[in-house]
């Protein structure tokens, strides 16, 4: 894999920094260009280094076994630590990735003096918790208080949902302004390099790191919110852990894995009395959007988030659930999309036992039914699943071409290369 030196195209609205990627192994879905689109207002902060392209491409190179050549400049610190990063991931995920050789043509530091402290923000439990923990009232060190939040289009929001992204952006921008935090937009196709061949839900760390690195002139410190606590991270393998994230730091930008010592349920409890979370918590992965019903309330993630809030008696304060639980028996919805492989249910039992014991029998029943459903689906033969694809079942929307990419930007980049 060759990662060419990044180039920048600028128009009246935005700047696009892009890099051509050449693969040794062919795959019809791999994008020819990786790009980040940044509003002109923030153009001054774009890092000209290849760091932002190397980090997300590395995982794909490790997955398909392509050695990497980086033509642009790479931070010496990143170049040193990336080998350890490769060893760490290949030890934890030997069936998914293996170390590859990386050849650098330029190893040098980006000569900038960034001052911003950022967090990659989605409006979910983890990112809200990170923001909460780094507000002035909870973080005594001014150097560690968050000044900016990065909201990425092309990470958990697909490219076609442009309107949804913009509405959410405006909503969060207003909400965070109250806390002197500036929300920064970013559009990118870097997830499209992973989505076709890898289960990128577990491998999102390099995507978030890449998005942060492209703003190398702005951020000196970046929090990557933990989605699993330390104990879960030891049992299951993920690309974003307290061990891995800091290894992607450069000479000018430190990555900090935030919240890794807290279970998801502890985070929920901590933000359960925060009005920003009441009005803006967004955890649902399903792309429906209405001004208040940010969360469908029926998917696995919604139910597992609602249950602890319901057990604490604060669910009615959270205004973003379309159909919040009102009775114990409604927790049976958990069975509908229950996924035991995510491991989150383990922390639910002691929590519910402590805060609302009357809910326990319903959760036990939901989990029993959920297990039956889960194993039934697991046992459906692959051929049958393929046949069911035509009716819209077992289809992974992320694997569709241009799910996380924009054809017009590819065209723009191609045109810019043809013009002298």
């Amino acid at each position: 894999m060759i990662i060419h030196e990044p180039e920048i195209i600028t128009d009246s609205e935005a700047s696009i920094i892009w890099s051509k990627i050449e693969y040794q192994s062919h795959h019809e879905y791999f994008p020819e260009y990786l790009w980040y689109r940044i509003p002109t207002k923030y153009e001054q902060y774009i890092s000209p280094q290849s760091d932002a392209f190397l980090v997300p491409s590395l995982l794909v190179g490790m997955h398909i076994g392509d050695n990497i050549e980086v033509r642009g400049a790479v931070s010496p610190r990143l170049a040193y630590q990336i080998n350890e990063y490769q060893h760490l991931l290949s030890t934890r995920m030997p069936d998914t990735v293996r170390p590859v050789d990386i050849k650098y043509l330029q190893v040098k530091t980006n000569k900038v003096n960034p001052q911003g402290v950022g967090v990659v923000f989605s409006g979910g439990v983890d990112s809200l918790f990170s923001v909460w923990k780094h507000l002035p009232e909870n973080q005594v060190l001014p150097e560690y208080q968050i000044t900016h939040a990065l909201f990425v289009h092309g990470f958990d929001i697909m490219m076609k949902d442009q309107e949804r992204y913009e509405k959410l952006f405006n909503r969060y921008k207003r909400a965070l302004e109250r806390y002197q935090i500036e929300l920064i937009p970013l559009e990118t196709n870097i997830a499209s390099i992973m989505a076709p061949t890898m289960y990128y839900v577990n491998l999102y760390g390099p995507i978030l790191a890449g998005c942060s690195l492209v703003y190398g002139g702005l951020f000196k410190r970046m929090y990557i919110s933990s989605s699993r606590d330390l104990m879960m991270a030891q049992v299951q393998a993920y690309s974003s852990t307290p061990l891995s994230d800091s290894l992607l730091s450069t000479d000018t930008l430190d990555f900090i894995h935030a919240g890794g010592m807290y279970q998801r349920i502890e985070k929920l409890k901590e933000i359960s009395n925060w009005d920003l979370a009441h009005k803006h918590l967004r955890i649902c992965p399903y792309p429906r959007y209405s001004e208040y019903g940010l969360n469908c309330s029926r998917c696995e993630k919604c139910v597992r988030t609602m249950l602890p809030l319901y057990a604490l008696g604060v669910l009615d304060k959270f205004k973003t659930f379309a159909k919040p639980l009102t009775k114990n028996r409604e927790s049976i919805w958990m069975a509908r999309k229950f996924n035991p492989s995510r491991e989150y249910h383990r922390e639910l039992f002691p929590f519910v036992k402590e805060h609302k014991p009357s809910l326990l029998p319903w959760i036990n029943l939901a989990m029993f039914l959920g297990y039956l459903r889960y194993w039934f689906l697991r046992l459906i033969p692959g051929l049958s699943k393929k046949w069911l694809n035509r009716f819209g079942f077992f289809v992974d929307p992320l694997k569709q071409k241009f799910a996380m990419d924009r054809e017009d930007i590819h065209q723009l980049i191609s045109d810019s290369q043809e013009c002298p």
Binding site: L88, V140, L141, E143, L243, M261
Partner: protein, 409 residues
């Protein structure tokens, strides 16, 4: 507990920098001060900030269950890292390390110094140290910024303060080795072990004083490698030097990097045994009474496991500082009378299996079984005693290095 600002005193050719640990409820035999001594030539390279002492003070405060107040300015980056450090130690061992509040007087980023160009590695002469040193030599490390320029050989950590003869003998040999490699070995000493002796397992305590020594020299060092003793990223056992926590003790202009967790011990010994500079200099022994400089006792668990691997690799003749191969009685002794680590021995057993050394496989398995019998017996006896009683019994059985007088409130 209050950590006071450090004070510097000149002691002939050495400089002593010490900070007072003031506990509300004093613990028996616990020293009042943590100190480091460095040769006078490094006088301009030392930091008089509280940063050096804060990580060790944190663990002692957590052990005693008292909130920690840190006097004097501390690096904001270190302060942030210390809070996460505290959370991790507490989650590892909540009974040993209590969750405490940490109060900071003030914050002051560490300034960048013109002479801050050195890159050091902790060096004890063991397999991990040699592997980290080898990995950062000019011929093996393509990134110039990452190459090692100095080693820190600290008296008072694995080589205890009351074992000066062995320290001096080893220091002489390793100083020559570093000179030969065009590098410099810095000799230091500390009384950090006295704080953990018989109280906190050394492997859960050694990181902060080790990194503290490097923090002391941080006006001169910009990077410090801690050689990894981790078996693998898949077995992140709680240890005070770990890839999970070491970097948390970095400051604004000083990076701590845990190195070598990607290679297991057998892989490291393979690399090190092929490097002539390590021949006859590998020092792995944990028996301070029987070792002699870099000559290993060949009868402790660390010696046994190294000899077993060197024997598998047919590299023992290159290491005359071990007393030859293991005998049947060595395996029995290994299981019953030493601190055999079953995971590491299983790794060696698997390696022996792939090398068709079936006799060794059987003997290693016997050693593991004997260790399980011993461990269960000791566990039952210890569960019947209080923590303080265990401490006092250990003082009676073993000769304590810490000879402070008992002061109880």
């Amino acid at each position: 507990m209050i950590l006071h600002t450090p004070k510097v005193t000149h002691e002939g050719e050495r400089i002593c920098i010490a900070a007072r640990f003031e506990l509300r409820n004093k613990l028996a035999y616990l020293p009042d001060h943590l100190w480091y001594r460095v040769p006078e030539v490094y006088e301009k390279c030392i930091s008089v900030r509280v940063d050096t002492f804060a990580p060790t003070a944190l663990l002692m405060a957590m052990y005693s269950g008292e909130p920690l107040s840190i006097r004097g300015p501390i690096s904001p980056k270190l302060a942030y890292g210390l809070l996460e450090y505290r959370n991790i130690f507490h989650s590892w061992s909540p009974k040993l390390f209590h969750m405490i509040d940490v109060n900071f007087d003030s914050f002051e980023p560490v300034a960048s110094y013109d002479g801050q160009t050195a890159v050091a590695t902790a060096f004890s002469g063991g397999v991990d140290s040699f592997y980290t040193l080898w990995s950062h030599l000019v011929q093996n490390q393509e990134i110039p910024d990452a190459r090692v320029t100095h080693g820190l050989f600290i008296h008072g950590l694995d080589l205890r303060l009351n074992d000066e003869i062995n320290y001096l003998k080893a220091a002489e040999i390793y100083t020559d080795l570093f000179q030969h490699l065009d590098l410099e070995l810095i000799r230091m000493s500390t009384n950090a072990y006295h704080f953990s002796e018989f109280r906190i397992p050394w492997t859960l305590f050694d990181g902060p004083p080790l990194i503290g020594a490097a923090l002391l020299l941080s006006p001169f060092l910009r990077r410090f490698y801690t050689p990894s003793g981790m078996p693998s990223y898949n077995d992140l056992i709680p240890q005070a030097t770990s890839p999970l926590i070491d970097h948390l003790l970095s400051t604004e202009n000083f990076d701590v990097i845990h190195h070598g967790a990607s290679a297991n011990r057998i892989q490291k010994i393979k690399v090190v045994s092929n490097w002539p500079m390590s021949h006859h200099r590998l020092r792995v022994c944990s028996d301070k009474l029987r070792m002699d400089g870099v000559k290993n006792c060949s009868a402790c668990h660390k010696c046994y496991r190294t000899i077993a691997v060197l024997s598998l690799l047919k590299a023992l003749p290159n290491h005359r500082n071990f007393n030859g191969d293991l005998r049947v009685s060595s395996y029995v002794r290994w299981g019953l009378f030493t601190l055999l680590d079953p995971d590491q021995v299983r790794h060696i057993r698997n390696e022996a299996w792939s090398s068709n050394q079936f006799g060794m496989v059987v003997l290693l398995q016997i050693a593991i079984l004997l260790r399980e019998v011993k461990r269960t017996t000791i566990h039952i006896i210890k569960s019947l005693m209080s923590r303080e009683l265990v401490y006092r019994i250990k003082r009676k059985i073993y000769s304590p290095e810490n000879t402070e007088t008992e002061e109880m409130q």
